[in-house]
């Protein structure tokens, strides 16, 4: 199992950060995706390469500021759980943690890389807003 985690500290309060992160149809605004489409407990994301992933939304908890999802319907992906948490850093800002556990493990590294880039962009978006 590939288990990876990336995080970023953002100088914006967690509720403000969560307003964007928690809007699951807007993840392409900060993550390297082309588009997101949400229907009920389902989401489809399109990557810049044109690949589409189908996801089950597992957790979408505004009080916890937590989002969890599983990639499904792809025979190459035998196990997946992605988690994004927006935490209070105790100083008026936020820590956003993006973790992935999956098989094939090689793909976990790739998603970690995308998450790192996404979190970097999220910080930039939040801190100029």
């Amino acid at each position: 199992m590939g288990s990876v985690r990336r995080h970023v500290q953002i100088n914006r309060d967690p509720d403000t950060v969560w307003r964007l992160v928690g809007d699951l149809a807007r993840q392409h605004e900060w993550f390297p995706l082309t588009s997101c489409r949400v229907e009920g407990k389902k989401r489809w994301i399109t990557l810049p390469s044109g690949i589409v992933f189908e996801e089950d939304i597992v957790t979408h908890d505004h009080s916890l500021r937590r989002f969890q999802y599983r990639m499904v319907g792809n025979p190459a992906i035998t196990s997946h759980l992605g988690t994004c948490d927006v935490l209070d850093d105790g100083h008026g800002g936020s820590i956003v943690v993006y973790s992935t556990d999956m098989e094939p493990e090689a793909l976990a590294l790739v998603i970690a890389g995308a998450a790192g880039e996404g979190l970097h962009k999220l910080k930039a978006l939040m801190e100029v807003a």
């Binding site: 810049p48 390469s49 493990e105 090689a106 790739v110 890389g113 995308a114």
Partner: protein
Amino acid sequence: MGRKILFITTDQQRYDALGCNGGQIARTPVIDELARTGIVYDRAHPQNVVCMPSRSTMLTGQHVSTHGVWMNGVPLANDAPSIASDLRRSGYRTALVGKAHFEPFLDPFLRFAENRIGSGGLETEMSIGENGLPTPHRGFEHFSLATHGGTGPFHYARWLREKNPAAAAMFFQVLDQQLQVNAAGGGETNAPQVKHNDIQRELYHTEWVADQTITWLSSLPADADWFCWMSFPDPHHPWDPPKSELGRVNWRELDVPPGYIQDAAERERVLDNKPRHWRMWYDGTFISNYEAPSKWVPKTLTADNVREVNAMAHIENELIDEAIGRVMTSIAARGWGDDLDVLYTTDHGELQGDYGLLFKGPYHVDSLMRLPLIWRPAKSANVAPARVAAPVGLVSLASTFASIAGMQRPDYAESERLPLNDDDARLLGHERVLTEWDSVLFGKIVGARTICRDGWVCTAMLPGTVHDGTEGELYHLANDPLQRNNLWSSSQHTAQRDALLDDMWSSLPTRVLPLRACDAPV
């Protein structure tokens, strides 16, 4: 007009692959002629023994600790220094044809410029260079990109799909369904990563790289100065040359190479005398390099497997030599022959059966570290042919390109240019060459630092998952050319070992922190 620079690289090629270096199987007359009329370096090492870090050293003139590409999957920073950028600023036209790999291949998010350039069929992409100004990606105004097969985002795969949509499937499938490096066997001996490839020779990537190089050079005006990096993906695994060429080398007629120890007990004794990760990989209990198929156990390798893999590599090397010959003919026809500098090398070696192992990893011995390196200076430079015994590294390439172009050694480059002969090596201070390894693969941590000087190779294993920081390797190259007798723990050699280590630690550049993130397995 200045001197033109043709920089030729192969991928994962051994020093002994070439006739000019004593190779007796593959016929490499074109490269041998470059060697005969140029400078051959008999002790050239990479600064890392996998692709991305080593290629980043070629481009930046920096050791791994400085450029920060500490393992495959770590992208070179977009604003990293690039000798191609410097050459372009001084008026050179610049191209990279073939395999780049400064950025990860596995990139469905298209985060990296190489993959965007390839998938978009673009010539290049503008980005912000180290001086803060827009520049073509890494200084190359033209890319024609390829890798080891017919799939993926690169120009070669796009071209191949147009020429023959079925051709991509003829290559060995590099990754399996779990996106692991494929352990499947093939050929006549079921050797790992071997396949008889039905592709026509004219559609094979070696031919395409030469053709694209000729096409780009043909587009240049006669008075242009140019730097062209022609980068062949072979003889890196998978070993799947066109089936039509298999008659060149019959694996059944090959002896096993000198580095392969036929007696299993003796082989395992040699491995047990090395740091423990050697034997652990051989037994299949510790895999620290993604590019070695995780489902393949080296202990199962047979002598016939070794013969067949070697035959495939020799065939691929012959095809490369002939492709270079076509490019040289084309350059001569343009009237550039007298002003042409050619540098030929590879990014790292290949175990190719040595010690009962294949592929590569944290194994700092000649199989992976001793590289072919040839500099054929322009005739107009009037440089005498030579063989250089002094230790040199790929870290000297950037300074060498600069010197050919009449430029000062770049501030960022960490080594002097390549020497013209051994006297020149002394003057330039080529006393030692350093190689680094670091890998963190899902909790498996391995680090090694190596120095080669005064005829010795000494490697310190850093504390990691299976090492406590006390293990290492020490070999005398003249007395033990196959590096089978590890003297690290020999009390007679303690002083020699410690002197080498002191010199190594004081010579290695300070590691730039924080470490860059690993964004893909390769």
